[in-house]
């Protein structure tokens, strides 16, 4: 662990660039449960962020709101200078309609814990569906790009397979290829290894590492793979009880932090 922490970041992001995403005092409650109690966060182009923290701390909710899978109770999320959940109408800020949301979330991609591949399509069709129908791109070009992407994640020989014929690790690699062919500027990873058998975790992490090192998109990883996340992350967020309890570089959060909760969380983790 220690050698990972002291290693220098290969591709640090200059902090001078404008953030691509801004969370402004975002709160979220489900009924009486306040999951997020005011999140302020900036994501810069190309930045790799790891979100860690105990389960139930609201980690997943943060990225689900950015993907528009949950609506914030209050606060704003700004993507590329546009308010994700609100739009202007007759000079007033109102709840965004479908058209506005689709326009703003176009730069965001997501990989899910349970893959969510489309079972009625082959893996190649899974990759091709969105670029063709959502972005209206040329079919042949999309096919070529999708095949290349599936080759990149090591599934170039299984193009005509259906998801049910693949292992969990393979499914998750397809899911990543599917998100990548959409060329998002921000990729969200929601505990992508949690549903996998331990022996399949490695192959998926390799793909993420490959993306982190070779693609210039921003990434937000919600994860329990602590060492791995810290290894590739420029910034670490420690979330606890609905607030960002600590944030900074891996070193700052994990070595220097005096925060008691961070300490006890890490202690439990190191033991495991």
């Amino acid at each position: 662990m220690s050698n990972v922490l002291t290693e220098n970041k290969k591709n640090s992001v200059s902090l001078s660039t404008e953030p691509i995403v801004k969370y402004l005092d975002v709160k979220k409650s489900f009924g009486d449960t306040h999951v997020l109690k005011g999140i302020n966060l900036e994501i810069r182009p190309g930045e790799k962020i790891a979100v860690i923290g105990p389960s139930g701390s609201g980690k997943t909710t943060i990225i689900r709101m950015l993907m528009t899978l949950e609506e914030p109770t209050s606060g704003d999320i700004i993507v590329n200078g546009k308010n994700l959940w609100k739009m202007e109408k007759n000079g007033q800020l109102v709840k965004a309609n479908e058209k506005h949301i689709r326009e703003v979330r176009g730069d965001i991609g997501m990989v899910f814990q349970h893959f969510n591949l489309f079972p009625h399509m082959t893996i190649l069709e899974n990759c091709m569906a969105a670029p063709i129908h959502v972005k209206k791109e040329n079919k042949d070009e999309v096919r070529e790009r999708s095949i290349k992407m599936l080759e990149r994640v090591g599934l170039g020989t299984k193009l005509d397979f259906y998801p049910s014929q693949l292992s969990g690790g393979q499914k998750q690699r397809v899911a990543m290829a599917r998100a990548l062919v959409m060329r998002p500027k921000i990729m969200l990873f929601d505990e992508v290894t949690s549903a996998l058998d331990p022996e399949l975790v490695g192959e998926v992490l390799e793909v993420i590492r490959d993306i982190a090192e070779n693609d210039d998109m921003a990434m937000v990883l919600v994860t329990h793979e602590m060492e791995f996340a810290l290894d590739i992350a420029d910034k670490v967020l420690f979330l606890d009880q609905g607030v960002i309890a600590e944030q900074g570089t891996a070193n700052e959060v994990l070595v220097d932090s005096k925060n008691e909760r961070v300490q006890s969380f890490l202690k439990r983790f190191r033991k495991a």
Partner: protein
């Protein structure tokens, strides 16, 4: 009433009863088609994000489903023509389509709903994450998964409706049951023509139900690894690269 079952009468009645078969089968298809369409109406109203509308529609469906189709048929046939303002007189055949069709559309609507609800929540989320439009989401992701599992259930309702259609003989639709009854009235021999009607129903519905059971197995295993493997073997698609080792039992 006649004395005993006589084969002579049986074969005498057979061609006459069979004359009604076209009407019975045609009415079944008409009722089923109408129920398939009207089932969408229920689904549409139940997806309106308004609790009041949804609960009213739910109770209307429950009402139609829990009351006898025979009474509903009588309502359409006898009562609808004298309803003020909207009253219309309809042919018996049309009355039967309306009454039986709407009655079973409440079941069909439930089947549609179960099909839609059977689609994993993750599929809706993935469609959002890939930024599909509402139209594309339904057309390319949700419906292709929601419809196949409902096909056997819909098939079952087709058979159920086939057996319900003879109700229409009461208001004078000349299907096989009406033909049998009129033969009985003319010749004072009911048992033989009614036996023919029973046999016709059995001959048509039993094989169909077996067919539907097979269809059900097929639909449930359509993405099953081993089934896909067999398919690939038959077609011998070189692309598939399927090895015996890919088979997971």
């Amino acid at each position: 009433m006649g004395d005993n079952f006589r084969w002579e009468t049986f074969f005498d009645a057979l061609p006459i009863v069979l004359q009604g078969l076209g009407v019975t089968v045609g009415l079944t298809f008409a009722c089923f088609g109408f129920a398939l369409l009207f089932g969408f109406v229920w689904i549409f109203f139940r997806r309106i994000p308004n609790k009041l509308i949804v609960s009213i529609v739910t109770w209307v469906m429950e009402f139609i489903r829990s009351t006898p189709p025979l009474v509903q048929l009588f309502f359409v046939y006898y009562a609808l023509p004298v309803v003020p303002v909207i009253g219309v007189t309809l042919e018996p055949f049309t009355c039967a389509i309306l009454a039986i069709g709407i009655h079973y559309s409440t079941y069909i609507g439930e089947i549609y709903r179960s099909g839609i609800e059977s689609v994993d929540k993750g599929q809706w989320e993935a469609s959002i994450a890939l930024n599909f439009s509402t139209m594309d989401k339904w057309r390319r992701i949700i419906l292709p998964q929601a419809i196949p599992p409902t096909i056997p259930m819909l098939g079952n309702y087709f058979i159920i409706m086939f057996k319900e259609v003879p109700l229409a003989s009461i208001i004078g639709v000349t299907g096989i049951l009406a033909m049998a009854n009129s033969y009985g009235a003319l010749n004072f021999a009911y048992l033989e023509p009614l036996t023919i009607v029973g046999i016709i129903f059995l001959l048509l519905s039993y094989p169909s139900s077996i067919l539907i059971k097979k269809l059900e197995v097929k639909m449930n295993t359509r993405f099953d690894k081993n089934v896909l493997l067999e398919k690939a073997k038959k077609k011998s698609i070189p692309d598939m690269n399927l090895k015996e080792s890919d088979r997971i039992v």
